[in-house]
């Protein structure tokens, strides 16, 4: 049994780093100690293709010295190397310009309930019992390559899968007494199936699951879902350009939320590089749009009790009934922007169901009647200053609430504020394995480019 969590000796090293920094002239410092271990088995067509063992340790230190600031990291965790590292780091920080806005978070803002690392119940002791045999059983047991028979419409070309289990352990300490720890295990299985149709065209489908608890992995069902997703794409067509009702599958819907959250971040706002500048407290979006930060849920993957500064996270509304309720302002940006600090980012954003609870993809397709169901994005981007976006998409045309045929080589283009103001529905079917809990979404009048 191997336990790759932080040891008392490693934790003591973090304390020594803080002591060294203060002894050499720093007024304040913060140390982040990270340790992780991952074992991975890759399979190709039901055979082991790759075995990987990863063990990482690193120390990062933020130094506040003579009104100046620098951040540094090293992965040589030896006493002599660390002392030399901190001395050189201080020398470097002293060369930079003063910045009065740099500071540690006030002790009253930091997390006090994360001393052990296991408070959220995200560490599964089963991770300590994993061995090569158990990993092989999961990785090979999940494969369906050898039992999948070709049909008249397709043959299976390849099944490329990875099983991994890992443990992440993070400790944040500062010279004002902060000491927070987060320990989490993770079990993950993902697979890409590639099929070939009768004309030789290839189509791939990906599916995965990730969970802190081994018992919830369900690897044995994943290949079949990936295969179903690949086969469903056979025979795609490009639709005419035009405005369509658009349903976004929960698997890919976070793509439409991430740019909103970035635009609410202090760094973008302070640089005038945000299309949500000056929107705090204003109704910007559709009444039905509410995004909560569901960040302190015990047992739920992605929950965190503190951010990278050690600031305590809070469950709260980010956008509520279309009104912007929160910017993400860390200690530095708060001082620069003369605003009250919050947390540095959305930890576990969750789009709330609307117009009622219990909707899933099927019911939303029925509600919308006819349009395009987007099941994946292929590239694209958005303009952080204007919110204009353009994404490549893959998915399906639907009519009378039923999928009719796959579509390809199409683009979805518009403005994020306009898009979200056209929100028709938000489901109740976000996948718990994802870092952002975004359900199936439906929007009115979306521009698609095709033929």
């Amino acid at each position: 049994m191997m336990d790759y969590r932080l040891t008392d000796q490693e934790i003591a090293l973090a304390g020594k780093c803080l002591e060294r920094a203060l002894a050499k002239g720093a007024q304040k410092a913060r140390v982040t100690l990270n340790k992780s271990c991952m074992d991975l088995i890759g399979t190709l067509n039901g055979e082991v293709d790759k075995v990987t063992h990863c063990l990482d340790r690193s120390i990062s230190i933020a130094l506040f010295v003579d009104g100046k600031y620098g951040s540094f990291s090293i992965n040589k965790l030896e006493d002599n190397a660390l002392e030399d590292f901190i001395d050189k780091a201080l020398d470097t920080a002293r060369l930079l310009a003063e910045d009065p806005c740099r500071d540690l978070p006030a002790p009253g803002r930091t997390a006090k309930d994360a001393g052990k690392g296991t408070e959220l119940g995200l560490f599964d002791a089963a991770s300590l019992d994993m061995d090569a045999g158990k990993r092989l059983d999961i990785a090979l047991g999940a494969s369906i390559f050898k039992t999948t028979e070709a049909t008249s419409a397709w043959v299976l070309v390849s099944e490329e899968a990875e099983y991994s289990d890992s443990v992440f352990d993070t400790l944040v300490m500062d010279t004002q007494g902060l000491c927070c720890r987060h320990t989490e295990s993770s079990f993950e299985y993902g697979v890409e199936m590639t099929v070939k149709d009768t004309e030789g065209n290839k189509f791939s489908g990906y599916w995965w699951n990730s969970t802190p608890r081994l018992a919830e992995l369900g690897a044995e069902r994943i290949c079949a879902v990936a295969l179903e997703r690949a086969v469903a794409q056979i025979g795609p067509q490009t639709l005419p350009s035009g405005k369509y009702r658009c349903v976004i599958d929960s698997e890919c819907a976070s793509r439409l939320v991430t740019p909103l959250l970035s635009a609410l971040g202090g760094y973008a706002l302070q640089q005038n590089n945000s299309f949500l500048l000056d929107t705090l407290g204003k109704k910007v979006f559709n009444e039905g749009m509410t995004i909560m930060d569901a960040c302190r849920r015990p047992g739920e993957s992605g929950s965190r009790l503190f951010d990278s500064e050690g600031v305590a996270t809070r469950e709260r509304a980010i956008i509520e009934n279309g009104v912007v309720k929160e910017y993400f302002i860390n200690t530095y940006m708060a001082a620069k922007m003369q605003m009250d600090p919050t947390v540095e980012d959305a930890i576990r954003p969750m789009v709330m169901p609307w117009p009622r609870k219990g909707l899933d993809r099927t019911s939303i397709l029925s509600m919308c009647g006819e349009g395009i169901l987007v099941t994946g994005f292929n590239g694209g981007n958005s303009n952080s200053a204007t919110g204009d976006y353009s994404f490549g998409i893959e998915g399906f045309a639907f009519k009378d609430g039923k999928i009719t045929r796959p579509v390809r080589e199409m683009l979805m283009t518009g403005n994020l504020v306009t898009l979200w103001n056209g929100l028709m529905a938000a489901g109740d079917d976000a996948r718990p394995c994802k870092s952002k809990l975004i359900p199936t979404l439906a929007f009115e009048n979306v521009d698609f480019s095709g033929e």
């Binding site: 063992h53 590639t194 590089n273 292929n378 683009l411 095709g450």
Partner: protein, 479 residues
């Protein structure tokens, strides 16, 4: 930069006997091949924000990656310490791949060998001023000068963020063929992100230069070039509109449009995807895939280029690899595994992000050789289409061949002339079809020296280039 062998052995605190012993440990229970990849990387950055260079830092990454191959199967582990016990433990972890795997027998002798010693005279990235010892305080005014230059060129500038980052990696490679390679890889990158404001509207632009060079790359000419590019085309950016979407001819401007080759073709030519039967080009070797006269290469030999390699990360010499010659697919991009599979010599494309990753086939500098037309004639030949020359990112679906790239700015083409500026549109196409649809190639090949980073499983620095080309029938996003 290439130092003498002793420098690298001392850096990693190993002897040549240690290397042999470790490679033997990896193969103790079977396997065909074992290689060791030692890395000591120093990364530094300084950042200008709101007129002051008030943040910066450095980061040190040290370790050794050990790979054991058993046929085409890979065992991989790494250690962040080079003490003998830690390295042996990593070798044993990598050797787990050999469970149930026969020793290769004559497979061992079929591999190409590269015993030549690293030659400083042939170094593709000599470093005159080592970033690790360069005076960081001398670099602070350079960022302030860059900001001043940018502001002096356009009164609409409201914010500038400028960042100088540098990285120097000492690399030592050894394998069970007893090949030993070593070099020191510099990389300097200068980036400026600028926010402009005009009558309440906001536009942003980011420009960069990146080279495998030392601090000598920081010249006044470089600052001037970057500042000029930062403000170039801003009038058009403010005036730009979304075009009407749909299929249309697309003229790709010389330089950064090389992202088309990277996404639409380059990834599909990477041999791992083909070996697994996943690539849309997996059964096209030797076939004509585009018109005569078109030659597409992946080149690791451009001195100082971001994609240059003295050796790839398997110790194979960097090369100029012709993937498409006169319209015919002639070579995939190989690492040692795929080269063995296809019975060809490795092409020097086995690359990795760091010692934490096993090498896989990756591009270096990917570009199309110049043709015979002119850019002006190509634009003049288009009745209604779009001209694009600035990009943000791209992506490809390997099996289907569908690729996209995001256009930051360009122009409509109407009756052979550039007219309305356009911006923020995605373009989508299919790799083989787009190749077949290349109608014309100009004589103005340009390599783009921005901070291109490819993200296939791991991040590696690359570059791309292309002459002006006309591609018929790409789908342009619009309203």
């Amino acid at each position: 930069m290439i130092n003498d062998k002793r420098y690298y052995l001392d850096t990693f605190r190993v002897t040549e006997d240690d290397l042999r012993s470790l490679a033997a440990e990896g193969l103790r229970s079977g396997g065909d091949f074992c290689d060791l990849f030692f890395e000591n990387t120093s990364y530094r950055d300084i950042l200008l924000r709101d007129g002051e260079v008030s943040s910066g830092g450095f980061h040190i990454d040290y370790g050794v990656g050990i790979r054991v191959l058993c046929g085409e199967k890979t065992g991989y582990a790494y250690s962040e310490s080079t003490d003998p016990a830690s390295m042996r433990a990593a070798a044993r972890a990598a050797a787990a791949i050999t469970a149930g795997c026969a020793v290769g027998g004559d497979r061992r002798t079929s591999d190409h060998r590269h015993f030549g010693r690293p030659n400083p005279a042939a170094d593709r990235y000599p470093m005159q001023m080592d970033w690790r010892t360069a005076d960081i305080s001398a670099h602070l005014p350079l960022l302030q000068k860059l900001e001043s230059l940018i502001r002096s060129k356009d009164t609409r500038v409201v914010k500038v963020i400028a960042m100088l980052s540098s990285q120097v990696s000492d690399i030592l490679m050894f394998n069970s063929f007893e090949e030993m390679k070593y070099d020191t890889r510099p990389m300097g990158s200068l980036v400026a992100s600028v926010v402009f404001s005009q009558e309440g509207a906001v536009e942003t632009k980011s420009v960069s230069r990146s080279f495998r060079m030392g601090a000598e790359m920081l010249t006044d000419a470089l600052l001037e070039e970057l500042a000029s590019q930062a403000v170039e085309g801003i009038d058009e950016r403010f005036a730009a509109r979304r075009p009407k979407g749909g299929k249309m001819p697309v003229v790709m401007g010389a330089g950064a449009s090389g992202i088309l080759l990277h996404e639409a073709m380059g990834h599909a030519f990477e041999a791992d995807f083909n070996r697994k039967g996943q690539s849309i080009f997996s059964d096209k070797m030797g076939s004509r895939i585009c018109r005569k006269g078109i030659t597409i290469v992946d080149d690791g030999t451009i001195r100082g280029n971001r994609g240059a390699v003295n050796f790839d990360d398997e110790g194979v010499p960097g090369q100029y690899t012709v993937m498409v010659e006169d319209g015919v697919l002639t070579s995939y991009l190989h690492d040692r595994i795929s080269a063995k599979f296809y019975g060809v010599a490795p092409t020097g494309n086995g690359r990795r992000e760091s010692f934490r990753y096993n090498p896989i086939p990756r591009m270096r500098a990917t570009y199309m050789e110049s043709g015979e037309g002119t850019a002006a004639d190509i634009i003049a030949s288009v009745k209604k289409g779009i001209f694009v020359d600035q990009f943000a990112n791209g992506q490809v679906k390997i099996g289907e061949g569908d690729f996209t790239f995001y256009v930051k700015s360009g122009f409509l083409i109407e009756d052979g002339r550039l007219t309305m500026p356009v911006k923020d549109v995605n373009i989508i196409g299919n790799g083989p079809q787009a190749l077949a649809d290349i109608e014309a190639v100009a004589d103005d090949l340009k390599i783009d020296n921005g901070t291109w980073t490819c993200g296939k499983e791991q991040s590696v620095p690359v570059s791309c280039g292309i002459p002006t080309v006309l591609v018929n029938n790409l789908t342009v996003g619009g309203e």
